[in-house]
């Protein structure tokens, strides 16, 4: 599909490539990164993205702390994570170069906006001389683009102010990249029209600059190489490049359609979960009720109220918010109402590092409430898998009349990948406990098999009933402090969650099933671990691999499957929470390997762990 070029260029074929965009947090890095990712998606690539940005909206210009990054890996089916090393680094200023040079290997390409390599900016980044000129980047191929000058030339007759003109420079760099990788530029042009439709002058300027960047690369001798990246092995169908946060929202809407009820999403803004609220807000309707609450507690409480009145109800949050929601989660547990809670994990404790990823909310999710307060905990493994996991959470919540927490993480919630859009008929059906006739109804009557109580809600005539946080009598549902009754109800609540095991598919073992060693991860480490396990096995380092989705209850077959291995290595982005859970449940020896840097595990790091543990087996 290479577009005609009028000059002779070297074309390099590659299975995949990793591009890292970096600049000031006001440079529109996340925006061009996302556009680039969408273009690779439309070109038919597999892809995986990693936004890496500071918490400040506009950190001091040119400072090291203000550097915002966005990494895209794209190529064939071997792309399972955003990668840890970049082939291409696009930098908008010296600070971006300084912070990101460590991601490059010898021979990688630096595309730099040289206009911003001013003495002042160089000083802020701690450079004594200009690295674009002093030879210090001789291990890399450096392409210097005087983007500020070039956009000023491009837009000089448009009547825009200098500051308006300079804001377009990120699109110039994007245009250059589109030429290098021969990606479909029209998609971004269309997106610009939509984004700036209220300001056609700005839209035209950005588009002009985008094409100018492309043409600049085409017409400048410095650009003498193009890259042809292999396409993914994606099955036929309609796709969308989805982030985990978007996918979580779409799953709840799809679930409400399947269930035939309104969906209610109550939430309070919190990084990195806010995009679920944004996505929902754009889709508000009489059947998609979105409530921005005054605080985290009100958000979950309103959602519990909506569940009581018959909605498919949900809330989303991140660590500090989950802490605030714990008391209300207990209310949902004792009320036995369906509720989906999406927790986008970030680095903790307390405010921690709000924009950075971690997997450290397992304990609070599974155990973080007073009393014996069981609920279902699931984990999503990738951006697109957030859809299927949140959909599954909705199904289990309704079927078992229980709150379900879905653990995603900043990494997959804000990263993206191709998502094949399912039709409604491809999605699992919902099962609801049969409601008896009104004269036979009691709020805490239970299905003898599943222990599930029926879901009656106002204004169903004849089903008026009272529930609440006080312990209730079995069946009748009146307030009760009777000792035996509390035992019965506690046993039922725990027993009911245990019954979810019958709904859990058999534990899948990847890699070399017959190896002596198994590496176990959960949720969002899936991509990096899968790539590492494939690499390890290809080198003769025999390793089996389990990625856990069902964290509470644990799958019924998990203990037996783990016990088959001589060595069990649990790898997670916390200080050993899952290792603790598995030791406690199965009394097995476990090697716990962890990382809490706010960055997701990379394939290389996992591979190193596998090699070390294999050597020491």
């Amino acid at each position: 599909m290479n577009k005609k070029t009028n000059k002779s260029v070297n074309i390099t074929n590659k299975k995949m490539s990793v591009i890292r965009f970096a600049g000031d947090s006001g440079d529109g890095i996340q925006l061009v990164g996302t556009q680039f990712a969408n273009a690779t998606a439309i070109a038919g690539n597999e892809l995986s993205t990693l936004p890496d940005y500071p918490a400040e909206i506009r950190a001091p210009q040119g400072s090291l702390g203000g550097v915002s990054g966005f990494q895209v890996a794209f190529g064939n089916e071997s792309v399972m994570s955003p990668g840890s090393r970049a082939d291409f680094l696009v930098v908008m200023n010296p600070a971006a170069l300084k912070v990101n040079i460590k991601y490059l290997d010898r021979g990688s390409v630096v595309v730099a906006n040289s206009s911003n390599f001013t003495p002042d900016n160089l000083k802020k980044a701690g450079y004594d001389s200009n690295p674009l000129e002093d030879g210090s980047l001789s291990n890399y191929r450096v392409l210097s683009v005087d983007a500020n000058y070039l956009v000023e030339e491009t837009l000089k007759d448009t009547g825009l102010t200098k500051s308006e003109i300079l804001k377009t420079k990120n699109f110039f760099m994007l245009g250059v990249l589109y030429w290098i990788f021969d990606l479909p530029i029209e998609v971004t042009a269309k997106w610009i029209d939509e984004k700036f439709k209220k300001n056609p002058k700005i839209a035209d300027a950005n588009k002009k600059v985008l094409y100018a960047g492309y043409n600049y690369a085409e017409n400048t001798e410095m650009f003498d190489a193009r890259f042809n990246i292999e396409k993914g092995n994606l099955s036929k169908g309609k796709y969308h490049n989805v982030t985990g946060n978007e996918a979580s929202c779409y799953a709840l809407i799809a679930a409400s359609k399947k269930l035939g009820r309104k969906v209610f999403y109550g939430s309070y803004p919190i990084t990195p979960a806010t995009e679920i609220l944004h996505t929902f807000s754009k889709l508000k309707s009489k059947d998609i009720v979105v409530f921005q609450a005054e605080d985290e507690i009100a958000a979950i409480c309103a959602s519990i109220g909506a569940a009581y009145s018959g909605c498919l109800s949900s809330t989303g949050t991140s660590g500090p918010g989950l802490s605030l929601k714990t008391e209300a989660l207990g209310l949902a547990v004792i009320s036995e109402l369906p509720l989906v809670v999406v927790d986008v994990q970030r680095s903790g404790p307390s405010t921690g590092i709000p924009t950075k990823t971690e997997q450290s909310d397992l304990f609070i999710s599974a155990f973080g409430r007073h009393g014996d307060s069981p609920l279902v905990v699931l984990a999503a493994r990738s951006p697109a898998d957030c859809f299927y996991t949140v959909y599954e959470a909705s199904r289990l919540a309704v079927k078992y009349m229980t709150p379900v927490i879905v653990l995603t993480s900043a990494y997959i919630a804000q990263g993206s990948e191709p998502f094949k859009i399912p039709s409604n008929s491809e999605l699992k059906n919902f099962e609801i406990e049969k409601l008896p006739s009104a004269d036979l109804f009691k709020p805490y009557m239970r299905n003898p098999e599943t222990f599930v109580r029926p879901w009656a809600y106002p204004p169903m005539k004849g089903y008026e009933h009272r529930i609440g946080g006080l312990e209730k009598t079995n069946i009748a549902g009146n307030v009760s402090h009777e000792p035996e009754n509390h035992q019965i109800m506690t046993d039922y609540r725990i027993g009911k969650i245990k019954k979810v095991q019958s709904d859990i598919p058999p534990t899948e073992i990847y890699g070399n099933k017959d190896a002596d060693m198994v590496v176990v991860g959960w949720g969002s480490t899936y991509g990096a671990m899968m790539s590492a396990v494939q690499l390890a096995n290809s080198k003769g380092i025999d390793t089996a691999f389990i990625n856990m989705k069902y964290l509470n209850p644990l799958p019924a077959d998990l203990g037996d499957k783990l016990n088959k291995y001589k060595k069990i290595v649990v790898i997670e982005e916390n200080k050993g929470q899952m290792a603790f859970v598995l030791k406690g449940n199965y009394l097995v020896d476990i090697v716990s390997r962890t990382k809490v840097t706010g960055q997701p595990f990379t394939t290389e790091e996992i591979l190193n762990i596998i090699e070390e543990e294999f050597r020491n087996r």
């Binding site: 998606a41 439309i42 994606l234 036929k236 169908g237 309609k238 796709y239 969308h240 779409y250 809407i253 799809a254 309104k262 209610f264 889709l283 508000k284 309707s285 009489k286 059947d287 998609i288 009720v289 409530f291 609450a293 605080d295 507690i297 009100a298 958000a299 409480c301 309103a302 959602s303 519990i304 109220g305 909506a306 569940a307 009581y308 009145s309 018959g310 909605c311 109800s313 209300a328 209310l331 009320s335 859809f387 859009i421 399912p422 039709s423 409604n424 809600y457 106002p458 204004p459 005539k461 004849g462 089903y463 008026e464 009933h465 009272r466 529930i467 609440g468 946080g469 009146n478 307030v479």
Partner: protein
């Protein structure tokens, strides 16, 4: 449909309040209003937080949810917003509503969600056996204030009026007819309604409101606020509150010749409501009645109106129809 009576709303469960508690009378007032409103049982939802008052939902045979401390308003908000056809009452107390639930009280009024909030004010944490609450008066001795309370109390009426809740009223537990008629009016007014009901705690604040009930003192200690009427009070009906230049004062007169220039109450006048809300014994009699009532579109109606022309997508494919690409 046959006309419902207050008894039709009894759940017939044993009531766990102390004998002599003011809550019994309020329960009767609410059941009377429920019958008068002519709304079917299944359309009522009574939501409560934690405290003595919050046992309330168990004693009416409608839908009910006894939630957690301070959170009745947000739970009820979810119920009302997801189904605006329901008549949702919130039963709460001074500690539940003003202390632990204070933030939700603020934002419930700010949004104007259509909840009918009945706040039973006994000026004490009674269920936990007698600690000072946000409405405990200065100097009052409680288990946590053995030398007398040094906290400034919360005036919820002043707050609700200041936040422009479209219905703000105060009544007293023993006045079943007065309380019931206020609750009925609260239910009929669109949006958030706040009704403070002074309620004696027979154990900890037994004498708290006696001056407002004792036939010897009550007429001088209470002024009943009624629309289009002067604010006359006193055993001999010889006193009135008048407001001049935004300043309230008491005037006395010969009851056989009521002055024609007395201030006439108008519940749609926010400034007047604000002034009346600030009146407290001993300088002034305690005002009871509907302080503020005006038309204000509710949160739920604003929400559903804002999306009335928005179609709900039938599938994920439809949501994403503008941003999909095809692999062939």
């Amino acid at each position: 449909m046959t006309k419902l009576t207050p008894n039709d709303f009894s759940s017939n469960l044993p009531i766990k309040w102390c004998p002599g508690c003011g809550d019994y009378a309020i329960l009767n007032s609410v059941k009377k209003s429920m019958a008068e409103l002519g709304i079917d049982h299944e359309k009522y939802v009574v939501v409560s937080g934690i405290g003595c008052s919050s046992r309330f939902p168990y004693y009416v045979n409608t839908y009910g949810y006894h939630t957690i401390h301070g959170r009745a308003i947000p739970v009820a908000t979810g119920i009302k917003l997801s189904n605006p056809d329901l008549m949702v009452f919130v039963v709460t107390g001074d500690g539940d509503c003003l202390s632990i639930g204070g933030n939700h009280f603020i934002h419930g009024i700010r949004r104007n969600i259509g909840l009918k909030v009945l706040m039973f004010n006994n000026r004490i944490y009674a269920l936990t056996k007698g600690q000072a609450s946000p409405t405990t008066l200065p100097g009052a001795k409680t288990k946590t204030t053995p030398y007398g309370s040094t906290d400034y109390p919360f005036n919820p009426m002043l707050f609700a009026v200041g936040m422009r809740a479209p219905f703000v009223a105060r009544s007293i537990d023993t006045d079943i007819n007065g309380t019931s008629s206020i609750i009925t009016e609260a239910a009929k007014n669109e949006g958030f309604a706040f009704v403070e009901i002074l309620q004696k705690c027979v154990v900890f604040t037994d004498k708290e409101f006696d001056v407002f009930k004792n036939p010897e003192t009550k007429d001088d200690m209470i002024v009943r606020i009624e629309d289009k009427k002067p604010m006359i009070f006193g055993k001999n009906r010889n006193k009135a509150i008048v407001v001049e230049n935004n300043t309230p004062k008491i005037v006395e007169f010969d009851p056989s010749i009521v002055p024609s220039n007395l201030t006439i109450y108008d519940s749609s006048d926010v400034n007047l409501a604000y002034i009346i809300s600030s009146l407290m014994p001993p300088e002034f009699p305690l005002p009871l009645g509907i302080f503020l009532r005006f038309a204000k579109t509710s949160y739920e109606n604003l929400f559903y109106n804002s999306v009335k022309d928005v179609a709900t997508p039938s599938s994920v494919e439809e949501i994403l129809k503008e941003s999909t690409y095809e692999i062939k």
